[in-house]
């Protein structure tokens, strides 16, 4: 497709939402470094965090190229309300069951979203996604194994997992919250299908896993149009954490 036909504004919103999702879940994962329930999970969550922050950096890089903005400024220099990550990632660290429930819901939803971007018409994103899907398979495997382990792990792990799914479930579908002018992305062939259709595919994909473990399905999202807004106190806390160095010494390099 020609550059003139590129729906720049809609594409920018898509890149920002994906980059912010990966950035925020990456920092949330990094909160487990040193305090995960077993040593292997200290390593795993740290590695996941590194993957996700790397994905965020690549996506901010594409957004920066598209809009002529410095990727670091995109990542760190916005006020909390200007971040467009989904509300699923706004619940604070919580316990280990929350970490696993969040990862399971996000990883499965992210996978549905990436599948709709593979082979898209805007090569920079389609090429990157072709690489991301290979890495995300490991993430989804990790979350699914732990979901199973907690669900079958006896009364306390199971009840904590159900609590976590009950808390996060209503926000799980916000990964597919509507984006401004998303129709232009579908018409341009960047995104294979609409976000509501992707949400339906994701629900169909997770239903057998959750049903087999007798776990609750995520209910429909309330106020989907605000699914990437109203971030609240836990995110403000995380925001203060992740840009501490940036604010302490603006422009520092290392």
């Amino acid at each position: 497709m020609t550059v003139a036909a590129l729906p720049v504004a809609a594409l920018g919103e898509l890149l920002r939402s994906m980059a912010d999702d990966e950035f925020v879940i990456g920092f949330s994962d990094s909160e487990w470094t040193g305090i995960a329930p077993i040593l292997e999970e200290d390593v795993a969550m740290s590695s996941l965090a590194q993957d996700e922050l790397g994905h965020a950096a690549a996506l901010y890089g594409l957004l920066g190229d598209l809009t002529g903005t410095d990727p670091d400024a995109l990542a760190y220099d916005r006020e909390p309300d200007a971040y467009r990550h989904c509300r699923l990632l706004d619940h604070g660290r919580g316990d280990w069951a929350m970490a696993i429930a969040r990862r399971f819901l996000y990883d499965t939803a992210d996978s549905a979203r990436l599948d709709a971007l593979v082979g898209g018409s805007w090569a920079p994103l389609a090429d990157l996604v072709g690489k991301l899907v290979r890495e995300e398979r490991y993430h989804q495997m990790h979350a699914t194994v732990w979901l199973d382990r907690l669900a079958r792990g006896g009364s306390e792990p199971r009840s904590r997992l159900i609590d976590a799914l009950t808390t996060l479930g209503p926000d799980a579908g916000t990964v597919f919250a509507p984006l401004p002018d998303e129709r232009a992305l579908v018409e341009a062939g960047i995104l294979a299908t609409s976000l509501p259709e992707l949400e339906a595919r994701w629900r169909a994909a997770v239903e057998p896993t959750l049903a087999a473990l007798d776990l609750p399905m995520p209910p429909p999202v309330r106020e989907p149009e605000r699914g990437r807004a109203d971030h609240g106190e836990p995110f403000r806390w995380l925001w203060t954490e992740f840009n501490t160095v940036r604010r302490a010494e603006p422009g520092a390099t290392w």
Partner: protein
């Protein structure tokens, strides 16, 4: 390869080519075989299959590399090692990372696999795209120390993004494997 060895190699290249010599992509590829992976220095970026394309034209030398992982923190170091090594040719060097072709562990050369094995890293099993990753991971990886197949996966995530941790129940040693990806 050590810093001193790279410098010596650069000096040899300079002596060989002279400033006006014709430069072709093959010579550049040979030079890139000196650039080690910063995280597993026994293998070069060529053996890892990271070098996707080399072009030499009037503007200089163009190298496109495929990151093994998107978030690999060694990319900047690899870029500067490549620039340093190719500086021997006295032409402008343009190094790009790209995803046009997704890097896969299947790109590691037979030599690269042998070197990984010899230094205690189990080389990656071939990618089987139709098989769930969990099934692939559960297949025992031969122990690089004793060769036994009685090994178990301890952690799909390891000290760097590209490694997983296994344990050999025969020689009772932990070992790392390059991830199949």
């Amino acid at each position: 390869m050590s810093e001193a060895a790279i410098q010596a190699s650069i000096a040899r290249t300079r002596a060989r080519i002279g400033s006006a010599a014709e430069l072709d992509a093959g010579a550049v590829r040979s030079a890139l075989a000196d650039v080690p992976d910063p995280e597993i220095p026994v293998v070069s970026i060529v053996e890892l299959g990271m070098v996707e394309d080399v072009r030499v034209d009037a503007d200089g030398i163009h190298v496109s590399l495929l990151p093994t992982f998107v978030g690999c923190p060694a990319l900047d170091m690899i870029r500067s090692s490549v620039e340093l090594r190719l500086s021997a040719f006295g032409r402008p060097v343009d190094v790009r990372f790209e995803y046009r072709v997704p890097w896969s562990s299947d790109r590691i050369s037979p030599d690269g696999r042998t070197k990984l094995q010899a230094s205690g890293f189990a080389p990656p099993a071939p990618v089987r795209p139709d098989e769930p990753i969990l099934v692939q991971l559960d297949r025992p990886v031969p122990c690089p120390n004793c060769g036994s197949s009685r090994t178990v996966l301890e952690n799909a995530f390891g000290p760097t993004q590209c490694r997983a941790i296994h344990h050999c129940t025969e020689c009772r040693q932990p070992f790392e494997a390059f991830k199949t990806i």
